[in-house]
Amino acid sequence: MVEIEKLKQELKDLNAKAAGIRDLPVEQRAEFGRKINLERQDLLGKIAAAEKALLDVEVQPIDVTAWSGVNEKMPEFYTTEMGTCHPLMAEMDRVVEIYQLMGFDVMESRQLDDEYHMFDTLNFPKEHPARDGYDTFRTEEGLIPPAHTSTMQHRVLKKYRKQLEERGRLAVVVPGRVFRNEDVDATHEHTFYQCEGVYVSQDCSMGQMLGILREFFEKYYEQKLNIRTQPGYFPFTEPSLEFMIEKPESLGGKKGDYLEMLGCGMIHPNVLKQAGIDPEKYHGFAWGGGIDRLVMLRYGLNDVRMFESGNLNFLREF
């Protein structure tokens, strides 16, 4: 308090001093004015800071070891009806659970990674134009908030290599948040969720991959589904495919209405090799797909931006 009074007095004095500019010879006025102005800015800054600090000075302390305020009721939780889980997180739990029932371990994805995991270990040649397709963000240090959960593939393969040798099989799903530098609209978000799957064994085939994916979608949407594929291109799988399901009638689909759900393919031998797995002995398949789209279809939502909006009018519906 005293501090602020003092500063305000100083400002008053300074203003009085400034009035004296008229008594100075013309050639000195500019320099004088400049000096006064600097001092004034400095003082105003100090006063603002002091006033802000004052906000925090006048605070009444409380007994933080107690469980209620003096003469106040014991605090209570809000009612259960008010509470909700985020739809993306609740659905991600379901997605993961279905894969767990099929024997897949879970490993969560990182949210800040590097070029090595995002591209190098996934058989993207250095400087290859395919790297541009991912519209990645970058930090000053060259780190990358991953644009796909495949950024974890190399880690999965290395971590489970031993299990692969012991049990002849490796099966892991990787849920996580990913980032793309693109304009946001009703169907595009720069921040969204994906779930990756990685499966390696000595005798695995594309038929098995299609089997697992069909099983997953049928369990998730709780009905029989028609599936279809189309060729795709990813440097880290060979062959590469896009996996589609026919939009179920119960979710507003009609015959022949196919939706792209994820990208998948047989893991490229270079990716296995780089993780220390012998591609002559083992083969694998992997897939990755957006969770946001999956959930939007399930609930008939049409604006992906609502997920990260924090808007309780939306979230309390779930």
């Binding site: 802000k52 600090a53 906000l55 925090d56 605070v59 302390p61 933080v64 070891t65 107690a66 469980w67 209620s68 305020g69 003469n71 106040e72 009721k73 014991m74 605090p75 209570e76 939780f77 509470g83 985020h86 997180m89 894969y99 099929m102 024997g103 897949f104 800040l112 990674d113 590097d114 995991h117 400087e127 290859h128 395919a130 963000f137 970058r138 930090t139 908030p145 099989r169 099966a171 530098n181 304009d183 921040t191 064994s201 085939s205 594309m206 038929g207 098995q208 299609l210 599936i227 279809r228 189309q230 060729p231 291109y233 440097p235 062959p239 047989m266 031998p269 997920f307 990260e308 924090g310």
Partner: protein, 831 residues
């Protein structure tokens, strides 16, 4: 990329319906993003002959009697080039102007009066027909190709479907960026052998080329002339035949930036044929390009056909710029500081990654991207240099990004066009211009030819990976249909030779398939061409999954907290510098995104709560009267450094903020209840003590006088409390506001293994004590008494009451005794 089905069908016989063809392309070649239906775009549009044309006095209009095949019709035409005897295109009354078919309200032509004369329909210009932007006059039709009354759509095959192809899924297939390559795949998908067309007529026989103009002019309405065969020079080869033009020298500084460079000098020997509307104009338009002039159109057409981009320089300008009197083409990397003015008049500053084409030492074109202004072909051009070359996709990719050039040509080059056809395509181009130009010189510089790729694979390797049962013959046919060479060898002496099916397929990739290297590439071809959808889905046997503790931990927390009325939210991982400052966090401690979408998303966040405070403000404004929002997510701080993988250490946090519009009680205690009950339910034994770690990033925004830090086994795991008034006012939030942030990694590590279950009968008592102690101090005193008398009890708070005017508080607690002594209550009441 746009693919006209009519054009495609010139190269491949399609025995199935269009719908089925499109479905097959979608499921076995590439994603078809859309289909533009042009089957009725040119309905009721006819070829007509202008029989009489009389100028209407004092106007620019001409009154025409046109022969529409079976009768004469009167049309008023405003075009300057209308004349008697010409064949023109007539849009009949009731027809839609083709350029307007995709507009909201398509323009329908009618009968109307102009200057008192009835005009029935209209004679169309190229722009109205959607064949380019030319509005200078009406189009004229070659009388050799059509007669009055013919439907325009029949003459030029305009009843068509045009596929819109998603380029991304062909990133590795440069060969499919031309109609021929696309058609080859379609043949393969249909199970038919592809007949390689020869778009170049000359082949090795350069001497047969029509440089004297004696050859018949190629008819552009028909397919490109087919004869001869493609040629490949392994080394530089040249050919000259001109008395007027000097020699040509090509100097590739580094074969890794330019694998092959073919140049043909064309010498003007006559005026080019008058421009009728041609079939080529229509395919250029359907493919998304615009007809411009004969030279540009020929280069564009061949690029669309073969995938090989071409460029034309003005020969005389090229020589002048270089300062010599002969053509010296140099292909090199640009030097820093060099500048180049491009065809679009923009001057760009070149960087050391850009490949430039130089005349002598002077850059005249940005290789693969765009030609330069100084050598632009214009209407005074006498002689031209045709360039047909390939360049490093890596360099061009950077050039594309650095200069923002996204042309059809660079799109193809950045897929890595193979070098095998540069000469053939250049020759085809020369031939298309043969009525105006003859070949003066051909030089082909091909310093480094890639070796042929041969892959050995067995039938079972193909079938095992796909989960299919394709026969050796089917596999071989499938591959040879699209140009692979297949030899079947039985490997004697090999381990597998005793088994049946030990035959090895030795597969050589055609020279346009730069993407074939390993067995899996071959398996992809077989699986794709035969249809992945024909593979039977099966489920492998599986084992049991292991638990992921953190994932389950979060699931448990989500479950509990939402059951207690809180709402889970998700907020962005990237925040603004302003938000960090509001929360008292140092921007230097955050990883900064250099290519952020906006300043709002510039820093990787250090903690969760600041994002929640922003959302609290938004919700309070909605308005939502009361809420507790929480989020579990990852945070990063530079001060945490790198982990053993040399990527930043990450933290998993839960943040929670609760706010109400009207409550006047102390928000801290509600936040503490959420935090403490959560910890208790998770089997984490925690203490809440006055905040002493105020310097930690997430604690900086909390008011130390009204916040506690949470300790587990003496270790700091987070903070709970109210926010500084200064922070609250920055976020414009109402007074009832509190929150917490806890470190989930630590909680998971520190949580107890098992829940204690105590089934003993308990004596229950309430106790009220008048005191000035804090609650913790009081509890300590109670515990000390219990210890002294040998009793044990759980102490639970009931409330704190301070009557008006009283100096002391009355603190009530509830005691549940597991072990009680006779004197314990008496002693406690004396406290």
């Amino acid at each position: 990329m746009k693919i006209s089905l009519n054009w495609l069908k010139k190269y491949v016989e399609v025995p199935v319906s269009d719908d089925e063809l499109i479905r097959l392309i979608g499921s076995r070649l590439v994603e078809v993003e859309g289909v533009i239906d042009e089957t009725h775009k040119y309905d009721n549009i006819y070829i007509v002959r202008v029989e009489r044309a009389e100028r209407i006095p004092d106007t620019h209009l001409t009154l025409c009697q046109i022969n529409v095949g079976d009768r004469l019709v009167q049309v008023v035409c405003g075009a300057p080039n209308v004349r008697e005897g010409m064949l023109a295109v007539w849009i009949a009354p009731g027809a839609v102007v083709p350029a307007s078919v995709h507009e909201d309200v398509p323009f329908v032509i009618g009968k109307r009066k102009m200057q008192g004369y009835e005009s029935c329909g209209m004679l169309a210009g190229a722009d109205e027909l959607d064949f380019g932007d030319d509005h200078s006059g009406i189009v004229e039709i070659d009388p050799d190709v059509a007669a009055p009354g013919d439907l325009l759509a029949d003459v030029f095959e305009l009843s068509d479907l045009v596929l819109e192809i998603e380029n991304k899924s062909l990133t590795h297939r440069p060969d499919c960026f031309g109609i021929i390559g696309f058609a080859r795949e379609v043949a393969g998908i249909l199970g038919a052998r592809f007949n390689e067309p020869n778009f170049s007529s000359s082949g090795l026989g350069l001497s047969k080329m029509s440089y004297a103009g004696t050859r018949a002019e190629p008819s552009l309405r028909d397919e490109p002339v087919r004869s001869g065969r493609n040629i490949h020079f392994q080394k530089s080869k040249s050919y000259y035949d001109s008395e007027n033009l000097g020699s040509l020298n090509i100097d590739i500084k580094d074969p890794s930036i330019c694998q092959r460079y073919t140049a043909i000098i064309l010498e003007k020997h006559g005026e080019m044929k008058k421009k009728y509307l041609t079939w080529m104009d229509t395919v250029l338009s359907k493919s998304g390009m615009r007809p411009v002039d004969r030279i540009v159109d020929a280069t564009n057409y061949l690029m669309l056909l073969t995938g090989q981009p071409l460029h034309a320089f003005d020969y005389d300008k090229f020589v002048t710029v270089g300062g010599g009197d002969e053509v010296e083409i140099k292909v090199r990397l640009a030097r820093a500081g060099e500048k180049l003015t491009l065809l679009d008049d923009k001057e760009i500053e070149l960087n050391e990654n850009d490949i430039v084409i130089c005349s002598g030492e002077v850059p005249v074109a940005l290789a693969g991207a765009m030609g330069g202004k100084s050598t632009e072909v214009d209407k005074n051009t006498r002689n031209i240099i045709l360039e047909s070359a390939t360049f490093s996709l890596y360099n061009l990719r950077k050039t594309q990004m650095a200069h923002g050039i996204f042309s059809e040509a660079i799109t193809r080059f950045t897929k890595g066009q193979p070098p095998y056809q540069t000469l053939a395509v250049a020759e085809a181009c020369a031939e298309m211009l043969a009525d105006g130009f003859r070949i003066a010189a051909v030089v082909d510089e091909y310093p480094m030819k890639a070796p042929e790729v041969v892959v050995k694979i067995t039938t079972s390797e193909v079938n095992d990976l796909l989960g299919a049962e394709y026969s050796k013959d089917l596999i071989a046919t499938t591959l040879t249909n699209v140009g692979f060479g297949v030899t079947i060898k039985s490997e004697r002496g090999s381990k597998a030779s005793t088994e049946s099916g030990a035959e090895v397929l030795e597969i050589s990739a055609p020279e346009w398939r730069t993407d074939i290297h390993i067995k899996e590439d071959i398996i992809e071809e077989v699986g794709r061409l035969l249809g992945y959808d024909n593979i039977k889905p099966v489920l492998p046997l599986h084992g049991t999954a292991s638990r992921n503790e953190m994932f389950e931990f979060k699931h448990e927390i989500r479950d509990l907290t939402s059951r207690w009325g809180a709402n889970e939210v998700l907020t962005y991982s990237f925040v603004s510098g302003r938000l960090l400052a509001k929360a008292g966090q140092d921007t230097d401690n955050s990883y900064r995104i250099v290519n952020s979408i906006s300043p709002e998303l510039q820093y990787v966040r250090q903690s969760i709560v600041p994002s929640l405070l922003e959302k609290a403000y938004m919700n309070q404004k909605l308005p939502v009267d009361k809420f507790a929002i929480f989020e579990m997510n990852k945070v990063y701080r530079k001060e945490w450094g790198m982990n053993e993988e040399n990527v930043p250490v990450e933290g998993t946090r839960i943040g929670c903020v609760l706010a109400e519009r009207k409550n006047t009680e102390t928000a801290y205690y509600k936040a503490k209840k959420y935090a403490s009950e959560l910890l208790k339910s998770l089997n984490v034994e925690a203490e809440f003590v006055p905040l002493s770690h105020a310097e930690i990033a997430e604690a900086k925004m909390f008011e130390p006088k009204r916040s506690a830090e949470v300790l587990v086994k003496g270790e700091y795991v987070g903070v709970v409390g109210e926010f500084k008034n200064s922070v609250r006012s920055e976020f414009k939030l109402l007074p009832y506001l509190a929150g917490f942030e806890l470190d989930l990694d630590k909680l998971l590590r520190l949580r107890g293994n098992e829940k204690k279950i105590d089934l003993r009968e308990k004596e229950k008592r309430d106790l009220t004590i008048e005191t000035n102690d804090t609650y913790a101090e009081l509890v300590e005193k109670i515990e000390s008494v219990l210890k002294d008398v040998g009793a044990a009890a759980e102490i639970m708070p009931i409330g704190i009451y301070q009557p008006d005017g009283s100096k002391k508080k009355k603190v009530s607690v509830h005691l549940e005794f597991a072990q009680m002594t006779d004197d314990v209550m008496e002693k406690l009441e004396k406290l």
